[in-house]
């Protein structure tokens, strides 16, 4: 029992690893601040394209969404990071993560927006248009505010997934939280830094997971 505590909850090692983990946490937060807005914007674009009046655009958007939902994000990331150099482009870890995450998260957010927009009756469009609003005004002031409300739990829950996903950036040596923790682990030969990282992720995400459960229950009733 003592040995297990030493291996997993070694406070001395945790204390030594904490500064490193905090710099990692800063990178994780920076990543999220870049990736989440990018995904939200890209998703909206994907959703609008998938409802275009041009059949070719519509199909291209849907094929794109399904394609990037079918490829695991880690595969996409490694493809961008170690595949693109063969095409003469050498992205930094940060750039590779930005590109891979943009494609992956946009397609997920895109599906959510699409469901939201489709949940708004055609009568809303007709009514708004007949008052003289343009198509983009109708979208911005009438449809989207209601659509986003309807799919809010899904948007928040997907954002949790995106934040969790940033941990795979460690695979391309971007020094975020998990990478820092794993480095501390390999230096100390002790699992405590990983446990500490897990605790930090829990601290960050547990409240949001609770919020998602509550939002979902409220929507259901």
């Amino acid at each position: 029992m003592e040995a297990i505590a030493q291996q997993f909850f070694n406070l001395a090692i945790m204390e030594r690893a904490l500064p490193l983990l905090l710099t990692g946490l800063k990178q994780t937060i920076l990543l999220c601040l870049m990736v989440v807005p990018l995904g939200l914007a890209g998703g909206l674009l994907f959703a609008l394209l998938s409802r275009s009046s041009l059949a070719a655009v519509r199909w291209a958007a849907i094929v794109g969404i399904d394609f990037f939902r079918a490829v695991p994000p880690l595969v996409l990331l490694i493809f961008v990071y170690s595949g693109l150099p063969f095409a003469g482009v050498r992205p930094s870890p940060f750039a590779a993560v930005a590109v891979a995450f943009f494609l992956n998260t946009s397609s997920y957010y895109g599906e959510i927006y699409r469901a939201g927009i489709e949940s708004i009756g055609i009568g809303q469009w007709d009514a708004a248009r007949s008052t003289g609003l343009t198509v983009s005004q109708t979208l911005a002031y009438v449809v989207l505010p209601q659509a986003v409300r309807n799919v809010l739990p899904d948007l928040v829950s997907n954002t949790v997934e995106v934040v969790k996903l940033t941990s795979i950036a460690s695979v391309v040596a971007l020094p975020e939280l998990l990478y820092s923790a794993d480095m501390a682990r390999s230096v100390t030969f002790n699992t405590s830094p990983l446990v500490l990282a897990a605790l930090i992720y829990l601290l960050l995400l547990w409240p949001v997971v609770r919020l998602v459960s509550r939002l979902e229950r409220r929507m259901a009733t």
Binding site: F8, V75, S82, F86, V160, T191, L194, A197, A198, Y201
Partner: protein, 226 residues
């Protein structure tokens, strides 16, 4: 020759031929682990949701704690924690078993929440009516509540299952010989991006039908509910 650079880097025929068997082997491993995860994950999730419906306070609290933790933690953190942690506790598991264990628990956590939401969505009157006909608690659950609840949970369970089986790619980090692992190994041996392209294509071939199926289920079950 220069104009063929792109194809030489990403679609070199010689390499496609040489690494095709390795990628196929990776596909078999991915499919095996994915099936194992789907089976144990969904079953465990259902069992936990049923256990929760007995509404025994301490049991429910433990289940919620489990579900919250495994929904909040990134799967890669769990994979590394179990892979490097268990040997320190004197337990040695092969890397594929670690991947299967972690992904099953993550899927079970999400499924428990979805099944529980489905059970809650069945009106109280159904319980009361069934119980008043003399059905026991368990019979009510199995014959009245679950058949209705499970139908509602098909689309979210499918989507979550797809998302989590894609995480089998995380196994490459701990050396499970699945598609991505075979592809990156072949890439570093050949110094060419063709195996990576093959790996990506293998995933698309595996998962596009599943994603399309999920889309079909979603529209079909949404229509029935309305």
């Amino acid at each position: 020759m220069h104009q063929f650079g792109f194809f030489d880097a990403f679609f070199k025929w010689q390499l496609i031929e040489r690494y095709f068997p390795a990628i196929m082997k990776g596909m078999a491993v991915t499919i095996e682990i994915a099936f194992a995860v789907v089976l144990t994950g969904i079953l465990l999730g259902l069992l936990l949701a049923i256990a929760r419906s007995f509404r025994v306070r301490p049991v429910s609290a433990l289940i919620v704690l489990f579900a919250d933790m495994f929904r909040a933690l990134p799967p890669l953190v769990l994979v590394l924690l179990v892979y490097f942690g268990l040997p320190n506790a004197g337990i040695y598991l092969p890397s594929f078993a670690v991947l299967w264990l972690v992904l099953s628990l993550v899927l079970a956590a999400f499924c428990e929440e979805i099944f529980w939401a489905g059970i809650l969505s069945i009106a109280k009157g159904q319980w009361e009516a069934a119980r008043s006909t003399g059905l026991s608690f368990l019979s009510t659950l199995t014959y009245v509540v679950l058949p209705q609840a499970l139908r509602l949970t098909v689309p979210p369970i499918t989507n979550r299952t797809i998302a989590i089986t894609k995480n089998t790619a995380l196994g490459t980090v701990i050396g499970v010989g699945e598609i991505l692992n075979q592809a990156t190994t072949a890439q570093s041996f050949s110094g060419n991006a063709t195996p990576l392209m093959m790996g990506a294509i293998a995933y698309v071939v595996l998962f596009i039908p599943v994603v399309a199926f999920g889309r079909f289920l979603e529209t079909r079950f949404a229509w029935r509910r309305a």
